[in-house]
């Protein structure tokens, strides 16, 4: 039972170092946070695989430098887990302050892991940020429950996401909008579909999406996965994958690395259907000239997985006040509207339209969604993220079945 000692060690570490540091800034006293933040450098650990996002973060860096005197350094991660791991190593090395990571772009299992191991700022801070009052906590329950883990103010909402597929309407008149149709389409068009290899988030999300469509009773997904019944419950999912894999791109021997590679493969016309977590991605790609303007988005008729992504501060961050200032700025209407702009990134906002001041509402009204972006109705209902236990077990089983080669 190797897991228990590890967990025990992590817990023991968590206890030993979880006493809150007296110096932690208090966002309720915002002027003092602003004063403390001035001159700080915030190392923002965020996935760096998308140029649009990198550019947006660079823009935000310029703004917080100009307005608040906070320097923002984007540490480009290939996996968010790298930063989580970094904080864990520091904790084990006894570094309770002066850590390398100030702010992490995070959600789901990474957040759950950090929260469990006491790697986050111990007090709630995000829900007292000035701009948090504008967040759409009523309309978007995913802002309060991150993959079934209660957020409790330990991370600040940044954006929302919903699994979306896209295709070229010039080549494909009717995209497959349910799983049976998708299976048939793959069989008829061998080599023209793939997904990212789990545990990449888009790959794992695709597995969950299939689970919602294939399980006899999808409601089990909201509860902790039962290892005893896992095999029986998931059998239809593996049956489907076993059937389609030989007809996937590269015969299912290689998978994409992430959404960016899916987009590249789509742009190269190696695959005909791609998927993304960003409903504005297809329009954004048209805007960038990476794909033809005949590209359109679609979702599954039974809904697609939706979630939110957040910003968290490690317990030992060097620039906690600066990190809060950055998180608050990224939550501001101005930053959120720019993020939602498909010419920039196209990531949907977490703010509630009706809570905004009229001039901010006007900013959102002026947003011009591209031809490939689905409206709220067409996007359909968002399926909530399954319990994290499913993530782990689905990924492990997928590895077992398809990585063995």
């Amino acid at each position: 039972m190797p897991r228990i000692p590890v967990l025990a060690a992590v817990l023991a570490l968590g206890l030993s170092a979880s006493a809150p540091s007296a110096a932690d800034p208090d966002p309720a006293n915002w002027p003092s946070v602003l004063a403390a933040a001035r001159g700080e450098t915030v190392y923002f650990n965020a996935w760096g695989g998308s140029e649009n996002i990198n550019d947006y973060i660079a823009w935000a860096g310029g703004e917080v430098e100009r307005r608040y005197g906070v320097a923002l350094e984007h540490v480009r991660l290939s996996e968010t887990a790298d930063a989580v791991n970094r904080v864990l190593s520091e904790k084990q090395a006894g570094r309770i302050e002066g850590g390398a990571v100030d702010l992490i772009w995070i959600n789901g299992e990474n957040f759950a892991a950090m929260k469990r191991a006491g790697l986050l700022l111990p007090e709630a801070w995000a829900d007292t940020l000035p701009n948090y009052a504008l967040a759409d906590t009523e309309g978007k329950p995913t802002l309060l429950t991150d993959f079934t883990t209660p957020v409790c103010g330990r991370e600040s909402p940044w954006g929302t996401a919903q699994l979306t597929f896209y295709y070229d309407s010039a080549e494909l008149s009717a995209p497959p909008e349910d799983i049976a149709a998708l299976g048939r389409w793959i069989a008829e068009n061998p080599g023209r579909f793939t997904y990212a290899a789990p545990p990449n988030f888009i790959g794992t999300t695709f597995l969950k999406q299939l689970a919602y469509g294939l399980f006899d009773d999808p409601s089990v997904l909201s509860k902790s996965a039962d290892p005893e019944k896992f095999g029986a419950i998931t059998a239809p999912l593996w049956a489907f994958l076993d059937k389609v894999h030989p007809d996937l791109w590269r015969s299912g021997r290689v998978f994409a690395a992430d959404t960016t590679q899916l987009k590249t493969l789509f742009g190269d016309r190696e695959i005909d259907i791609a998927m993304t977590f960003n409903p504005g991605e297809a329009s954004s790609a048209i805007h960038d000239g990476l794909v033809p303007d005949t590209v359109r988005s679609f979702v599954m008729d039974y809904g697609t997985i939706g979630n939110a992504h957040f910003l968290a501060i490690p317990f030992n961050a060097s620039a906690k006040a600066g990190a809060m200032v950055v998180a608050n700025f990224l939550l501001s209407p101005e930053a959120q509207v720019k993020k939602a702009d498909e010419a920039v990134w196209g990531d949907p906002t977490v703010l509630a339209y009706e809570k905004l001041a009229p001039e901010d509402q006007a900013l959102f009204d002026a947003l011009d969604n591209g031809p490939a972006t689905l409206g709220p109705d067409a996007l359909g209902k968002a399926l909530s993220e399954p319990d994290p236990s499913w993530t782990e077990m689905l990924e492990a089983e997928w590895q077992r079945r398809y990585v063995g080669g």
Binding site: M1, V6, V84, S89, P190, A197, V254
Partner: protein
């Protein structure tokens, strides 16, 4: 009787070898201890059970584990064998001819190329949407879209194997040419006079002595290939990947219990690399026995023109593939819309360069600073060591040479995670200086190997003459030896710089992500497949070491433009 000790050797020269050995071996031992000795308080990979037997059981039960392990085992010896065959075949067929010098010139820029850049070049050349297929599509193939062929990332690891050979063959060729300088070519002439064909004569007469000097570089190549990370990310199989990549994944897994898997897998990695070496050494013995039997049998192998042609062209193909790949990397960085099957982009623009200029400058500054620091430190340390060897008369034994190779004979992924945690505990991480230190560990051996031969070949009677003319040993070093060796010194510096620029894993782990270099960013971009961006980053990554070598060639030529004996930067 008075022992000859010309003068007392100053302290700063005397301590250089000890310090150098500490830098070479210290991190390796510390890093390995970090994995093997959790009992004494090291828990480098997280959790106190990092080294339990159950972790071994669990890691072997991981899906595809043995496939990953098998690849880590065979790819080292096989890639080394192919590279060695290419290099040896070429030398046997072309030694002493004009094409030898030509190919040597062709391979020089290839040698400076970082692994990641070479890998990108290969992808752009041979992948289904790559240049070769575009050239003949749709005219010959009928393809209007890229075919669904599994060329890159194939499960067998053949693309990775090809990529490794592209980098190893030039490196082994360098090792061969420097060994060749000490071998007497007349021995091949004698064998020819005894009736052997050109190639057989070289193989019988010259190769055994040359090979003895290539053994350590070959062993370094085997270990490196068995645990490579950046090239495996770009070219290697995915289902499952090379063991080193999986270890990196387990180290970085947010599920902390996976770290004990990483620790156990590290032990398997060391075993796979070690087994690769053992197999090589066994094969070596077998082949040398067979060669001896063939030699004493008196059989004269006929010289077949086809074989000779083939042997000559192998290395040329390697050089051309790498150079074409870099050309494609460059074109990609300025390409506008470039859809399959267009052989050339529809337009060229500098958008990526203009947009990325500030960032590329920052990354270049980091890379140059780290590389400059590491290679300059290595250069000074190596010069002091060599000077100490000269003054004390104690030269390196073969065993000591093994120490020199220590960081190259242990897989990077084997000891760097442990070292990272050690440095973290000392509070020395995540900034430029520790990264430069980690690079120093890998730069030192190459700097030493590059400079030792010209340094030792230096005619010390020049120094005796200076002494007889009233100069102290230090003055003779500064006024005579260093100026005369400025060419080789700069080449050693440039090689050290190139080695530093190419480092991926040490920068990533020791830098904790806070010290981005052109290499870490280029590799990070690889998964996204944005060819324009990768093109720009990989081109800068390739240009940096190349500029280093260009400078190393230009400075002596300029400095000694009026001094014929030194102008070529050649060894005196």
């Amino acid at each position: 009787m008075v022992n000859s000790r010309t003068t007392n050797i100053p302290l700063w020269v005397r301590i250089a070898p000890a310090l150098t050995i500490a830098v070479l071996v210290g991190p390796v031992i510390a890093g390995l201890a970090g994995i093997a000795l959790p009992a004494v308080g090291f828990a480098p990979l997280g959790g106190s059970s990092a080294f339990t037997l159950s972790a071994f059981a669990r890691v072997t039960a991981e899906p595809g584990f043995f496939t990953s392990l098998w690849l880590a085992f065979w790819i080292g010896p096989v890639s080394a064998l192919i590279s060695l065959t290419l290099v040896t075949g070429f030398a046997a067929a072309a030694a002493g001819t004009r094409s030898f010098a030509f190919v040597a010139g062709l391979l020089r820029p290839v040698l400076a190329l970082p692994h990641a850049a070479a890998a990108f070049g290969l992808v752009y050349l041979v992948s289904p949407s790559g240049f070769l297929l575009r050239l003949v599509s749709p005219e010959l193939t009928g393809f209007s879209r890229p075919p669904d062929w599994l060329i890159v990332n194939d499960p067998m690891g053949l693309a990775l194997l090809a990529g490794l050979v592209l980098k190893e063959a030039p490196y082994l060729f360098l090792a061969l040419t420097s060994a060749l300088q000490q071998a007497d070519p007349r021995r091949a002439d004698i064998a020819r006079a005894l009736g052997h064909s050109r190639m057989a004569a070289w193989l019988h007469g010259v190769f055994p002595a040359v090979y003895a000097q290539m053994r350590l570089p070959i062993m370094a190549v085997i270990v490196f290939s068995s645990s490579v990370v950046d090239m495996a990310m770009i070219l290697g199989p995915a289902t499952p990947p090379l063991l080193s990549l999986r270890i990196l994944g387990w180290i970085n897994d947010p599920d902390f219990s996976q770290k004990s898997l990483a620790a156990a897998a590290l032990v398997f990695q060391l075993g796979a690399s070690g087994a690769g070496l053992v197999v090589w050494l066994a094969g070596e013995r077998l082949v040398s026995g067979m060669a001896r039997r063939l030699a004493v049998s008196g059989i004269r192998l006929p010289g077949l023109p086809g074989v000779s042609m083939l042997a000559r062209s192998g290395l040329v193909v390697v050089a051309l593939v790498v150079l074409a790949g870099i050309g494609l990397v460059a074109v990609n960085s300025v390409a506008g819309i470039w859809r399959f099957p267009d052989a050339l982009p529809r337009g060229l623009n500098l958008t990526v360069w203009a947009e990325r200029a500030p960032e590329l400058m920052n990354l270049t500054a980091n890379t140059v600073l780290i590389g400059g620091l590491a290679s300059l430190t290595a250069l000074i340390a190596v010069m002091l060591c060599l000077e100490n060897e000269y003054r004390s008369g104690i030269t390196l034994s073969p065993r000591a040479k093994l120490v020199l190779y220590a960081p190259l004979l242990v897989p990077q992924i084997g000891f760097l995670p442990g070292l990272t945690v050690l440095l973290l505990r000392l509070g020395w991480d995540g900034s430029l200086l520790p990264v430069a230190f980690a690079h120093l560990v890998f730069v030192l051996p190459y700097t030493y190997l590059m400079l030792a031969d010209p340094w030792n070949a230096f005619d010390t009677r020049y120094l005796d003459t200076a002494r007889a003319l009233g100069r102290s040993p230090d003055a003779a070093l500064l006024t005579i030896r260093l100026p005369m060796l400025v060419g080789p010194i700069l080449v050693a510096f440039a090689l050290g710089f190139a080695v530093s620029v190419a480092q991926y894993l040490p920068t990533l782990l020791i830098g904790g992500g806070r010290v981005p270099t052109i290499t870490t960013e280029a590799v990070a971009l690889s998964s996204g497949g944005n060819r324009r961006l990768i093109g720009a980053y990989a081109l800068v990554q390739s240009l940096l070491p190349f500029l280093g070598f260009a400078l190393a060639a230009a400075v002596p030529a300029l400095l000694w433009r009026d001094r014929r004996a030194l102008r070529s930067g050649g060894v005196v």
